[in-house]
Symmetry: C2
Subunit: 337 residues, 2 copies
């Protein structure tokens, strides 16, 4: 069985220069995948020049959604954007998943409009992988929903657990809820009620996880509302960048420290590789009737290839049917409680 991934080639800070090259690497490295390169044909074709590959198709789309464009306007006016056409390919079954490094708000709005939500899921959530002391964890929502009800947070838990159990072949991944204290009494009313729902859900719910608990790897799935999740994610990114800059500055301080840096390069590179956020690129828009993966806008070829791999893996392992089955299981007990 082959998996077909539709790629919004015009999205992201670098457009086809990154997306098309990543697609070529992806097809070269994975034998069971096809790609449909969606975008302005005259921008894409030249990059394929000497590459003829039976698993690569180009689909022309005349418009581009700008990175700073209003999602509502993009949805209304750009019916032939590379983003929209790529999502349409998922809708009509030509592709099993799509990937875009474009405008997050527009991707969310168009995906939701075109694909619709899975039964039993009210809202999509952005789910990303973060590195932890124990490996990695999945955290959702990271910015799709600024206000969430306890029921939404429960749905995020179900979706996250279904995703992890599918792609990591785990029976009952642990699920925690992001909170400001380890005790049950802590947190706001929404989080407290959500914790109760998660406790009754049959998921492997381990209770509250504090901010530092994310990186300690206390739960395989961490649930939070999109406001808190987005702030935590971006604060982490900002801190990591600052620390990296400080470390660079110290090693560049004078001739002696530069010499030390030369000697330490292999060790520092191993460290860098280990925390390289590009390895974790690709956030899934969970809850839709279709697989949509959002790449970081600034992604390079290596990074974007990882987002493509993530999309393909989710298609291969049937994440959507896994979520649907798990949600169906949930409904009766929810009605009783």
């Amino acid at each position: 069985m082959t998996v077909t991934v539709a790629i919004d080639c015009m999205g992201g800070d670098h457009g086809p220069a990154v997306t098309v090259h990543a697609a070529l690497d992806f097809v070269r490295n994975q034998q069971d995948v096809c790609v449909i390169l969606v975008g302005v044909e005259e921008k894409i074709r030249p990059l394929l020049a000497n590459t003829y590959h039976s698993r690569i198709t180009v689909r022309h789309a005349s418009e581009i959604v700008a990175m700073d464009e209003s999602p509502a306007l993009a949805l209304r006016n750009k019916k032939d954007s590379s983003m929209r056409v790529a999502i349409n390919l998922v809708k009509n079954g030509e592709a099993d998943a799509c990937v875009s490094a474009g405008n997050t708000g527009a991707l969310m709005a168009i995906s939701r409009f075109v694909l619709k939500m899975l039964p039993g899921i009210d809202r999509p959530a952005i789910c990303a992988i973060l590195p932890t002391a124990k490996g990695h964890s999945h955290v959702l929502d990271l910015g799709a929903n600024v206000d969430c009800s306890p029921e939404h947070l429960l749905q995020f838990g179900i979706m996250g657990a279904s995703l992890v159990s599918a792609i990591e072949h785990k029976d009952r991944p642990s699920v925690g809820i992001l909170n400001i204290g380890a005790e049950d009494i802590k947190g706001n009313e929404v989080v407290k009620r959500a914790a109760e729902l998660l406790k009754e859900s049959g998921l492997n719910f381990i209770g509250n996880v504090e901010g530092d608990g994310i990186y300690k790897g206390e739960a395989e799935v961490v649930v939070c509302d999109g406001f808190v999740g987005n702030v935590a994610l971006k604060a982490s990114e900002g801190l990591a960048q600052m620390l990296a800059a400080f470390l660079r500055q110290e090693f560049k301080r004078n001739l002696l420290t530069k010499l030390v840096a030369l000697i330490a390069i292999p060790v520092l590179n191993n460290f860098k590789k280990r925390v390289d956020h590009r390895r974790y690129n690709g956030a899934t828009l969970l809850g839709l009737k279709g697989i949509v993966v959002k790449s970081h806008g600034s992604a390079d070829v290596f990074s974007f290839t990882n987002a493509l791999a993530r999309a393909a893996e989710e298609a291969r392992t049937g994440v959507l049917s896994r979520i649907t089955e798990r949600v169906a299981l949930q409904q009766p007990s929810q009605e009783i409680s």
Copy 2:
């Protein structure tokens, strides 16, 4: 003029072993300070053995608030706890400030009950210093309030700006609000409304700051509700610890990397010094009719000394009157709007 700091010597993970030694260092290094060591006398006296200092007083308190004790119970039952007695000393004017490394919830509850709020301030907020690419920023609230109204966030902005203008002698420190996008339309309703209030407040309001903007140093004061602030702070702590552990592991991987580590030690130490969180120890409980500084529970002597220095500096520079004046200034325009 001397400044007197009351110290809850029994609080924190290490109790008098840390707090009393830090007090001695503090008195040795700052000529204009007195300390009142509050706690179980027979635990404190032996640590002073050969140290007689005219600026050190011991005040016996028979009870101790446990780190995991319910704040409500500590407030109701432990009238003679070291924490409570230290706060009482601020209330009755014997001390200009107090510092505790004890139970945060109890410190908040007892401070609020004993000292009461400043006029025009509804709720206390926890304000801490975080290192940034440009130096450091003050962030509040970090966990005292899980739900905040726009008016509360405005008050946090006023208090934070007053604090910075007092202790850093700055006329109009920049104030930002933590949000999930740089645009005005982003965020939840509370944050949007708070941004409007801050805009009209006369403060030097620079608009939204995203999570990474904290560490970029985009604003000297960053305002947020206690849930988001606490998660962001703890996520940052967790990430920093994880990265430090990874770096250590890489340098300890084998004999060769250990050799490299030996050579790189001076550079790594400079880096470590630069991001040492102990330098920033001491979060202020702002909004009370008295200066109360909370030290990290796990603080060591160096760390706790910094919290003491922070409390003294706030007393010296008249932070409380600065806040009171600024709030009074606010009232009329708020009534008009």
